[in-house]
């Protein structure tokens, strides 16, 4: 769930845009460099962006019978790295605002900061940490995707708390309110997104192993020793 158009006061909308800008510009520079060196990357990066948009349109099954949508940025950050996701996530947010009326233009900066900067970096950091501690690909993906989802909604809650401090208890009270409404309720859905990530990467390790090796997620499978004449 993104912050809707017009919901944030003008000062906050500008402030979050300024905060997200360096990350998005850094991502744009990474993309420009990649495309200059390999013009064919335009299509692969476009495919990555389209996948992130479509992933957020997949309904996540839930125990209560209702359904929600994964953020998809955790999977994107693990596959394509956070700087690229800062740009692709912002492009996806722009498309969601203009094609689905989800989010907004003045709140694009705030949503980009939560969805395209904090979520991917937390998800990727958790994934790398899990791998560094000896966890395999799938535990890393699970932890990364759960925390990327949660970090996005915790950030959104804190952005709202900053914009609307509580009348009596100030920022702390407002943070408790918004975290209770937008982040606590997200925990089962974040776990659901982690499970979806495990299932996704389990299928990918079988069906798209060369791509995962090229992206550096799996080490190349040992080549069987050639027997007989070449």
């Amino acid at each position: 769930m993104h912050i809707a158009e017009g919901f944030l006061p003008a000062g906050h909308a500008v402030g979050w845009t300024v905060a997200a800008a360096p990350f998005v510009v850094h991502g744009a520079r990474a993309v420009v460099k990649e495309v200059r060196e390999n013009p064919e990357s335009t299509l692969l990066l476009g495919a990555a962006g389209a996948f992130t948009f479509v992933l957020s349109a997949i309904k996540l099954p839930s125990v209560t019978g209702s359904s929600s949508h994964p953020t998809g940025t955790g999977a994107g950050a693990i596959l394509f790295r956070p700087p690229v996701m800062a740009l692709l996530g912002t492009v996806v947010l722009l498309f969601q605002a203009l094609l689905l009326a989800h989010g907004g233009l003045t709140t694009l900066g705030a949503n980009a900061f939560a969805f395209a900067v904090v979520g991917p970096w937390v998800g990727y950091g958790t994934y790398r940490l899990t791998r560094w501690l000896g966890g395999g690909l799938l535990p890393g993906v699970f932890a990364g995707m759960v925390l990327a989802d949660l970090a996005t909604y915790v950030t959104t809650s804190l952005q709202l708390a900053l914009a609307f401090p509580d009348a009596t208890t100030g920022l702390a009270g407002a943070a408790a309110k918004f975290l209770g409404v937008f982040a606590l309720t997200q925990i089962p859905l974040a776990i659901g997104e982690g499970l979806l990530g495990v299932l996704l990467f389990r299928v990918l390790t079988v069906n798209a192993r060369p791509e995962l090796e090229r992206l550096g997620l799996l080490s190349p499978a040992p080549v069987p020793a050639a027997g007989g004449a070449a």
């Binding site: 744009a28 476009g46 099954p61 740009l87 979806l196 299928v203 791509e211």
Partner: protein
């Protein structure tokens, strides 16, 4: 039909042939007014103008516009209620000016949302993306965004087809099966997107693509009358908001 109602409306809108720059000025102005002017009468006027223009001269289907305006209301309602509930040692209560603050938040959001939708339902993304070049967004970034726009409809169609096939094969008959099917669905869409990108790249390489995806831009001339009316209307909204207490 592309499968996204707002995009379909944009392609068939009566304002489709208007200059994207003209529409950006009008809608950007309305979004700005909804953001900075007081909810009464600023947001009310912005909302009325945006809805009136969309359903009137731009001939956007009322059902499409109404449904799209309603979509963010769940967030706005929950967010506004949370903002005006006060937490203290005695428990929960309403903030002193709860009703006016909630109404103001609702007004700003609905009016701003309607102004964004006026742009979205009259201007396809393929018209808006070239305008980003004039805002000095690098060509490579605009190209990637254009590929995202063109690929997402193909992938959304794949998503629907695969999900339908999974449902027909009892793939969503229980929670466990549904999770497994959803994982397979996401993986299938990702590998298809890679496959599509690879095939398009091979096709373009065969046609000599070396420096990027260059296409002839469609020229949609700006209208002085439209610009003058937009500026006058926006000035009228600002003046009314300043003069009306």
């Amino acid at each position: 039909m592309t499968g996204l109602a707002v995009d379909d409306a944009a392609w068939s809108s009566a304002w489709r042939r208007r200059s994207p720059g003209d529409k950006l000025l009008l809608c950007g102005g309305l979004v700005g007014c909804a953001l900075v002017l007081p909810a009464w009468p600023g947001s009310v006027l912005v909302g009325l103008v945006a809805v009136g223009l969309a359903l009137g001269p731009a001939r956007v289907p009322a059902r499409t516009f109404g449904r799209a305006v309603r979509l963010p209301l769940a967030f706005v309602t929950v967010g506004a209620l949370t903002a005006v509930v006060s937490v203290s040692g005695d428990g929960l209560g309403w903030a002193p000016d709860a009703a006016s603050r909630a109404a103001s938040l609702l007004g700003h959001s609905v009016a701003g949302g309607a102004a964004v939708l006026l742009l979205a339902t009259t201007t396809p993304m393929s018209d808006l993306l070239p305008a980003l070049r004039r805002l000095r967004v690098p060509a490579a970034v605009v190209e990637v965004a254009s590929v995202v726009y063109r690929l997402l409809f193909v992938l959304l169609q794949s998503l629907r087809t695969i999900r339908e096939a999974q449902t027909a094969r009892m793939g969503h008959s229980s929670l466990r099966r549904s999770y497994r099917s959803t994982g397979v669905l996401a993986a299938a869409v990702l590998t298809r997107s890679w496959d599509r990108a690879r095939r398009m790249q091979e096709g373009l390489a065969g046609r000599g693509m070396e420096t990027g995806l260059r296409v002839l831009p469609e020229v949609l001339p700006s209208s002085r009358a439209f610009l003058a009316t937009s500026v006058t209307g926006l000035a009228g909204i600002v003046a009314a908001s300043v003069l009306v207490p």
